[in-house]
Symmetry: C2
Subunit: 249 residues, 2 copies
Amino acid sequence: MTSEGAAPDSASSRQQSASDRRENARLKDQNSYDPTRYAHPSVTVDVVILTMRQRRLEVLLVKRKHWPFEGLWAIPGGFVNPEESLEDAARRELEEETGVRDVYLEQLYTFGDPHRDPRERVITVVYYALIRAETLRTTAGDNAAEAAWFHVYHLPALAFDHDRILAYTMQRLRGKLEYTTIGFQLLAPEFTLSELQEVYEAILDRPLDKRNFRKKVLTTGILEPTTHTRKSGHHRPAALYRFRPGVEA
Amino acid sequence: MTSEGAAPDSASSRQQSASDRRENARLKDQNSYDPTRYAHPSVTVDVVILTMRQRRLEVLLVKRKHWPFEGLWAIPGGFVNPEESLEDAARRELEEETGVRDVYLEQLYTFGDPHRDPRERVITVVYYALIRAETLRTTAGDNAAEAAWFHVYHLPALAFDHDRILAYTMQRLRGKLEYTTIGFQLLAPEFTLSELQEVYEAILDRPLDKRNFRKKVLTTGILEPTTHTRKSGHHRPAALYRFRPGVEA
DNA sequence: TGAATAGTGTCTTTCAGACAATATGCC
DNA sequence: GGCATATTGTCTGAAAGACACTATTCA
C-alpha cells in the first residue's frame, strides 16, 4: 500500500480535509441560527419527457407564466422533497406531468452554474424519460395551454439553460442508442420493424437503410416474432415483433 | 405544432406547475424566516482522483477522523460555495488535495439518496479527474497519514456510498476509453506505446495484444512520432510519441 | 551471450454500409 | 391493375482478434 500525503496548501484551508468540513457543518447545524445554512442552494429535478408522436420525437414543455423568462417554454421540474431520492422526485414530477409511471428514466446531468436562475441559486439534477404515446392520459382541457409537445428539432425559445439541457439530452440519447436497447422504450410491447426504424431515425435525425437496419436488429437476437400482424392502410400488413423476454436496457 | 395538456391530477397539486412552485419559493424567500429553507439539502462535490502509479490505476482517498464512518476511507470532497459553479468547486477541491490544476475533469453522476449521509441530507455531485503522477506535488509530510493512494482493484473499506461511486467511475471510464482519447490524460506529453498500453490495460483490467493495440492506435492517426527515445533498463529503448496537436478528448 | 523489452505482419472473422427487386393487401 | 408499404440478399471494405518471431540495448 502506497501512502503519500496530499499537497499542502495555504495551511489553514488545507489542513481541514473535506470530511472535516462536513463535520464542522454538522456541528454548526446544532445551533439554532446558522449563517452557513443560507449557503445551501435550492435543488430541483427537471425531467426531459420524450415520446414518439406522428413519427417524430417530441418533448413535453411547460409555458412559464411568471418572471423570469415569462412566456418562454421550460422543461418541467420541481423541488426535491427532503425524504425522497432524486429518482423518486423525478418519477413524481413525471407522473404529475403525464400521469404515467414505470417508464424508462435515467439521470442525465446536473446543471449548477451560479446564475442560471436569476432568482436564487438553483442546482438542477436533470433526468430524461422515454414514454410511449399511448400510455399518456388524454388532454386535461383547461391545462392545454400550459403544456405542449414540441418536435425536438423545432423548439420554441426556452427558459433558463434549457436549450443546453435538451441538446445534451439528444447527445446522450444518440450515444446510448448504439449500445443499448433504449430505443425500444418508445414503442408498445408489440411493434413492427418499420416502427422501430422510425424511432431510430427520429433520434439520429437521419434516414437509415431498411435492409441494413432489419438485418442488424434481427441478428442481435433481441427480437422475436409474434404471430400477429398490423394492418394500417391499403397495403400489405406488417409482422409484429416483441422483445425477447428477459432482455432489458 | 401540436398542443396537448399534461395529464390532470389531484388538481391542487397539479394546477401548480413546476415553474409556479419555483416562483412560490421565491416569494416565500422574501420573508425573513422561511421554513421551506430548511428543506434545502447540503450540496457537495466529490472528486474521484485517478492516476497511474507503478503501472497501476490508483485513486486518492482520505481517511475519516470523525463520526460517521470514522477510520474508513472516503473520496475527497467538500461543499459547493455560493458563487462557484459545480465544476469550479470540483477544480478547487482537486487543487486542494493534489496541488494540480488544468487536468481532465468530468462530471460523473449525482448521488442523493436521502440517508446516504446519516447526519443530514447531502446531495453530492461527483466528478472524476485524471492526472499524471509526475504533476503531483510530493508528499506533504504531516498529512501523509490522512490521504493515500489505493490500487482501484484493491480498495479498503469505504465510507458512505463511495464504493458505488468508485464502481460507477470505473464503468464510465471503460466506456469512454473506447470512443474517446480519455486514456491519454494519464500520460506525460511524450510517452511510449507500451506506456499507453499499460494505461488501457489498467483501466480495462485485462491484458491486450501488443500488435493489435499498436496497429489500432497508430492507424487512428492521433499519434505522431517524436525523434526522442526513452531508455529505461538494460534493453532496447522505446520510441516516444505525442498526440497530434489539435486533437482533444 | 543472456536478459529484458521494443517492434513488426498475416490470416480469419465479423460488422457496416451501399445497393434494388419482389411480395402482399386493399381499393 | 394500381397503389402503398413489407420483405428479402449480395458484395465490398473496414475493423477486430488470434497468433510468434526478430531487433536492440546493456550488463
